[in-house]
Amino acid sequence: MTQNMTGARMVVQALKDQGVEVVFGYPGGAVLPIYDEIFQQNDIRHILVRHEQGAIHMAEGYARSTGKVGVALVTSGPGATNAVTGLVDALMDSIPLVVLTGQVPTFMIGTDGFQEADTVGITRPCTKMNWLVKDTAKLSETIHLAFHVARSGRPGPVLIDIPKDVQFADADYVTKEKIKVSHYQPKLKGDIDQITRLVEMIETAERPILYTGGGVINSGPGASQLLRELAEATGFPVTSTLMGLGAYPASGKNWLGMLGMHGLYEANLAMHGCDLMINIGARFDDRITGRIKDFSPNSKKAHIDIDASSINKVVHVDVPILGDVGHVLEDLLRIWKSRGRKVNKAGLAGWWRQINDWRAVKCLTYKPSTTTIKPQYALERLEALTKGMDRYITTEVGQHQMWAAQFLGFEAPNRWMTSGGLGTMGYGLPASIGVQIAHPEALVINVAGEASWLMNMQEMGTAMQFRAPVKQFILNNERLGMVRQWQELLHGERYSQSWSESLPDFVKLAEAFGCKGIQCKDPKDLDDAIMEMIRYDGPVIFDCLVEKHENCFPMIPSGKPHNEMLLGDADTQGVIGAKGAVLV
């Protein structure tokens, strides 16, 4: 039986049919009919944000921590343009989102109407796909298709622009079972010949490494399980990008830690020295490769990715495998087992001896202090005191983000939410709220820097309104720490605009929002203060005053290869040449 209804009701009905429980949004003139429908139902919970960028990051946090599609609803014009940063963030990090925007009525499009913007034009390069729906009869089908596109293949954000008259008009609702099957069906199974070639290489490799990325997490928990099985069964070392942390457990014996610009010494040197690199759902990002010419010069490289355009984009690979990580790993393990589970035992033993020598360098060592809190110490204590709890971590962007990736251990996927590709300051606070909405009982901590945190601090209002007891763990060095670090290394210690002047009193700010503020500046008080934060039943702003001039090491200076890493006590003057200086 077909149901006739308004476009606005269709939106709500389609969201319900897609299993949506939460929408993050902000009302405005062009979405009033949809908000009227939201008012008249109780199945979908609406989280009122304080800024549209916050809505998108919350939806990202929700999506990343649940594996579901995140949904946001904003109005036309400024509502849509405010969402743009979040859309690009989700596109870069492959986070599935459906974003609904209001639009001026169809007969006004193109007249520079009030709060009109060319939303599909602006967001075309910022989304995986977008649609302007000009006919109510096509609305429900478009929404169902949007969910399919957002979650299929390499996930990403999609946007549907809905003019106000389309929301008011009536048409027949099409259920998701009734829509015609989309031709957009990315290939999941990898080519068996290529997988077999990789198995042959696995059997003989002397110095192999598994280089894993966010694709493992996007493929679902099954893929993480298969990765663990592969690592345990072969005895191969595992490293991961920032986006892939948690797919292989930090406590696993094959774990080398994160790789890349601020990755661990043993992980980067193993990447440089390996003879077989197996890239599983990562994309040879410039933060990972350093100087391309000298990137892992003596290895054969295999790359498993669901996005063909990621393969051979920046690094030439010998064995390209196009497919879903979970499906490919399943076939890979099956073939490897059926051929007798062979590995080069002698080669591997020597490789691990070498890796253990690198590990012995203890690259995360820092100079401890009894008088000031070192940011690394703060994270070590946070890790020690929250380990084993039902814990989710989000971050802002900068030094604190890298330290969090280095010092916090993730045992499971979907527990670590960070802005990797775009590097969006202001991501962490709203993302933490999105995570908390999805996991009301869990401990959700946003590891932040004071400058990033201020970028979306208005969302503390959202946290208060919806009783999301998020913990804002701010490593406050009164500096844009990463900018300051680069100015020290690159620009003759001329610290142009990289300090935080006129900071608010974070404890008073917390009180103004109605939540709890804690300040800590003495290492001796830190454990008690962290426990007070964890135990408090509600949002907390934790102002952790840390060493102001700490640099984040290890570091591969830009334009350098993996084997030219800087360690903590290295001489950092003049390490970046003119060629490196133009890179970011």
Binding site: R124, L132, R154, P186, S309
Partner: protein, 186 residues
Amino acid sequence: MSPLNIKKGSTSHSAYDLRDPYADVSEAHTLAVIVDNEAGVLARVIGLFSGRGYNIDSLTVAEVDHTGHLSRITIVTHGTPQVITQIKSLLARMVPVRAVHDLTEEGPSVQRELALFKVAGKGEHRIEALRLAEIFRAHVVDSTLESFVFEMTGPPEKIDSFAELMRPLGLREIARTGVAALSRGA
């Protein structure tokens, strides 16, 4: 030059792809992209080229299947083998794109372009223009006492050479459609 004396970049002499994917030799490729004919598709395809700094040498688009609402976009582009591969992968992953054919790689193809030339002149120039048009099998589609408009169909090189010849004879304007191409054979 390889020992087999096969030119780098050539694909038509071998069953194997002998191209070095990281060669920095720029190659021209003609791509046929079959897309759903819906709003914004062309902008999406063009945006890919402008956004990532790829080149469009020629672009032709029209609906070719009215019942299935499918359009065929013919793009002539150039770039290193790696860039060409990247362009094809990026096009293929777009939701409204049904198929991407690299006519340069898939074998021999027919490439045609239609062009209109306005040539103005008197006396000898006028007669010479008409004579050359005949040799090039261009048709006169408009004529005044002081001008002709010629219509010509052919591969882009033929149109280029005709334009060169017309230039000293009073060439005023050219309009070109861009390349439409199909693979040869069934």
